[in-house]
Symmetry: C2
Subunit: 168 residues, 2 copies
């Protein structure tokens, strides 16, 4: 199960468990697909886009987090002492585009959360082309990101970012 490439995912079984399907099921429950957009003076466009895919589990049963890290062959595992959980997270655009998102294209989530995955997928493809570094591309990113995680809280509202882009 180590460092699988998308083409090899399908052949991955553990006993009667089809590992790619199990991982999608796990992410459907516990996974977080998010895009943070925060001010960054150094960038000409003034805002930085930070996509992330992560998943947590109680530290006392974190085996599945190790599985996930090996399966994707990327990302990092960090303990969160505040609530005794362990988190796997991938934030690198190339890892997300080449290792993580191809999995979710092949084994999509069965709940409405798949819409978050699809929006994140589009954003990461745009970022690979550098679209987010120009105001026009960033506007599209902001609109895609606003459709994600409607129940989550945002530090910077989409309207605020779009207004800033208008006046720049």
């Amino acid at each position: 199960m180590i460092n699988l490439r998308p083409a090899q995912y399908a052949g991955s079984w553990q006993g009667d468990i089809h590992v790619p399907s199990y991982i999608s099921g796990y992410f459907d429950g516990e996974g977080c697909f998010s895009v943070a957009i925060a001010p960054r003076r150094r960038l000409r466009v003034g805002w930085e886009v930070r996509p992330s895919i992560s998943v947590s589990q109680n530290a006392d049963r974190s085996e599945v987090i190790d599985h996930i890290c090996s399966y994707f062959g990327c990302g990092a595992i960090r303990p969160d002492p505040s609530d005794a959980t362990v988190k796997w997270e991938s934030r690198s655009i190339s890892d997300l585009n080449e290792r993580v998102l191809p999995h979710f294209r092949m084994y999509p989530l069965l709940s409405g959360k798949h819409r978050d995955v699809r929006a994140l997928d589009k954003i990461c493809m745009m970022m690979a082309r550098g679209d987010h570094l120009e105001a026009d591309g960033l506007r599209v990113v902001v609109e895609l990101a606003r459709t994600m995680n409607p129940s989550g809280r945002r530090r910077y509202q989409p309207e605020q970012i779009l207004e800033d882009l208008r006046t720049r």
Copy 2:
């Protein structure tokens, strides 16, 4: 995917997703395997054993809960208006023994949570034989239940129940 029997689980695919594996992955993240033991005067042994397998999801993406209900062909779906989630739960001993637990024997959880499933499985098998209606059997149930969900809170402590059984 309706009313599957254990023998048919294996053939259940949705596109490239192996549904039984997906469901085990989902339960590894969001599932709750629990046994409540509460006083009940009407029973000679004085305590009632209530096993439960349940899983929740935000109401705005509850499709996967519907899938799970159809897949097992038992249990009930209830909205929880307090936190805008929807919960599927099975509490019937015969449903648990005949429809739900055989799945988790065939497609076990990959995290340490599988120990909870195994303890619950043993308790439900004992209950099918009526062991929990006698003090000796109930003692074993209490010991098995105390190993489960170590992070969860209990209304009645195992020591309290065992002490009561001693003095009965």
